[in-house]
């Protein structure tokens, strides 16, 4: 079973698409919150009115507006819709973030704290007291107690208690953020710092209240398709692990949405592999110490914002998406391109690299559901030239490394390959990355994927 927040997000997307297809979106939008949480219904939050407010903000994001853009609380969704259909390009995400915090949905979790629960038995050996490096724990009235002026939240006591009586409370979004971009403002409201956010989507994926929302471009794509514009869909290789049915069936399904062609981003990955291997060889022969991959856009943002000196070690080879867009434009001059994948950060990269739209797998499937297109009932699409397996494997951690190694395989080199990978970005691996950057950890080829396991586990993957 998908969890409550994933269910609501997907249900809303499907309803949104169905209403668009019926031509009734403008009139339906403001009714959605009530329709989905009628008076007799059980609420998921404190009351149906709270649920309805959150649904409203989710719809705003589906229309492409962030919650932070709201200046007039009484403005109707229909009015946002009318503004949205006037734009000829999706709302900017390069300068303003693709992620936004829904204040109505946010539980404003209290700051992380170590707490002694009622399970404490005031035991004789008192491992909590003896393991505390700051002497913050004492036993008062046969129960352990913490002096918060001394506690550094290291959590040692939580792991030594034989009764599991000490817990560390967390703020999931803040914990998930690898760069400390999420913080509370003076009023206690959660905010994302634009300067620090790398759009990895960790907070989006982890918030149990689903209060971090993604600004969608789905309406822009739906409108362009309806207007009969020439658009090529580029499907990220992570798709294979997400669907019932085959990639070939998925391509047929996607083409039925009205796209003029469907291509594999893995074709671009072939080009990336060839060029990245060549670049690596040149750099090593020129005596450079280290080169890292560049296809994970959140990683590139991370370097740009936090380790700028390291940028010269990041491969300059364009990502598979950029090459796939070139292929699409070569084969269909004048076309627009849409990248479809599991990634939040690709929205930022796309805006910088002239890719017209980005859809998540969830949005793609909502579009299919809205038209009652079944992937497993589709005929297989005759893919003219399927991408090689190594390129399709880019979506898995170490896939890029394997592809580049096999590309290098045929040559005798003067240097020894020392490939390492960072599989998933969190605070610890950011610290590791800095050690690679300063040469304290050895490697000459470093693959970095911000999502643990690779793109297949991206924040907008369908596996959830």
């Amino acid at each position: 079973m998908v969890d409550g927040s994933v269910f609501l997000r997907r249900e809303l997307m499907i309803r949104f698409v169905r209403a668009f297809n019926n031509g009734s979106l403008e009139t339906e939008l403001d009714r959605f919150p009530v329709k989905m949480r009628p008076r007799q219904d059980n609420s998921s939050r404190c009351c149906i009115y709270h649920d309805r407010a959150v649904i409203k903000y989710r719809l705003m994001n589906l229309l492409g507006f962030s919650c932070e853009e709201e200046t007039d609380e009484s403005r109707t969704l229909a009015s946002y819709y009318r503004e949205a259909v006037k734009r000829d390009k999706p709302a900017d995400v390069a300068e303003k973030l693709p992620l936004s915090v829904c204040e109505a949905g946010c539980s404003e979790c209290p700051s992380s704290k170590v707490v002694i629960t009622g399970n404490c038995r005031g035991c004789f050996s008192r491992p909590c007291m003896y393991s505390c490096p700051k002497g913050a724990i004492s036993v008062v009235n046969q129960v352990s107690s913490i002096d918060y002026s001394k506690c550094i939240k290291c959590g040692k006591c939580t792991s030594v208690c034989p009764y599991h009586a000490i817990v560390k409370t967390t703020v999931p979004c803040e914990d998930a953020c690898p760069t400390g971009a999420i913080h509370k403002d003076n009023d206690g409201h959660t905010r994302i710092n634009v300067e620090k956010c790398i759009s990895c989507g960790n907070c989006f994926a982890r918030c149990p209240f689903s209060a971090i929302l993604e600004r969608s471009q789905m309406l822009d794509v739906l409108r362009a398709l309806k207007n009969g514009e020439k658009i090529v869909a580029m499907i990220a290789p992570a798709a294979a692990s997400q669907i019932a049915g085959t990639i070939e069936q998925l391509f047929t399904a996607v083409s039925r949405l009205g796209f003029s062609d469907v291509i594999e981003v893995a074709l671009g990955a072939e080009e990336t592999t060839a060029r990245e291997a060549e670049e690596f060889r040149e750099k090593m022969n020129a005596g450079e110490k280290l080169m890292t991959t560049s296809c994970c856009p959140a990683y590139v943002e991370l370097v740009r914002k936090f380790i700028p000196d390291f940028l010269l070690h990041v491969s300059t080879t364009p990502s598979p998406m950029v090459f796939a867009a070139e292929i699409a434009r070569r084969e269909h001059p004048g076309c627009k391109v849409v990248f479809i994948g599991p990634c939040v950060a690709k929205r930022v990269e796309a805006a910088r690299k002239n890719v017209d739209y980005v859809l998540s797998f969830e949005e793609l499937f909502a579009m299919l559901a809205g038209k009652n297109i079944d992937v497993i009932s589709c005929e297989p699409w005759p893919i003219p030239r399927p991408a090689i397996a190594a390129a399709r494997n880019f979506a898995r951690s170490c896939g890029v490394t394997e592809a580049v190694i096999s590309e290098l395989g045929g040559f005798k080199e003067d240097f020894q390959l020392d490939a390492k990978a960072i599989n998933g970005i969190d605070r610890k691996t950011v610290a590791m990355l800095k050690m690679y950057a300063s040469g304290k950890l050895p490697a000459n080829f470093l693959e970095v994927m911000c999502c643990s396991g690779g793109c297949v586990n991206g924040p907008c993957s369908l596996k959830k």
Partner: protein
Amino acid sequence: MKKMQLEICCGTTCYMLGANRLLNIENEMPSDLRGKTDVRALPCMGLCNEKELSGAPYVKLNGQVIENATAEKIYEKMRALLEE
């Protein structure tokens, strides 16, 4: 004993709203139920359009429709069938 027929709707709507998690159900079943079903993925049964989206995901157990299907719900129905 004849195996029970468990059909999971893999229409796009059901798939997105939870059927994706049910496809592997055979390997996750508790030991008393394991090996007693044939699991099949079905194309859209059209049920999601009838009640808007409120019943997805749908599965059929020996032809009987289960709406808002979860693994637990399926196990419960399976046990009921076994007792009959």
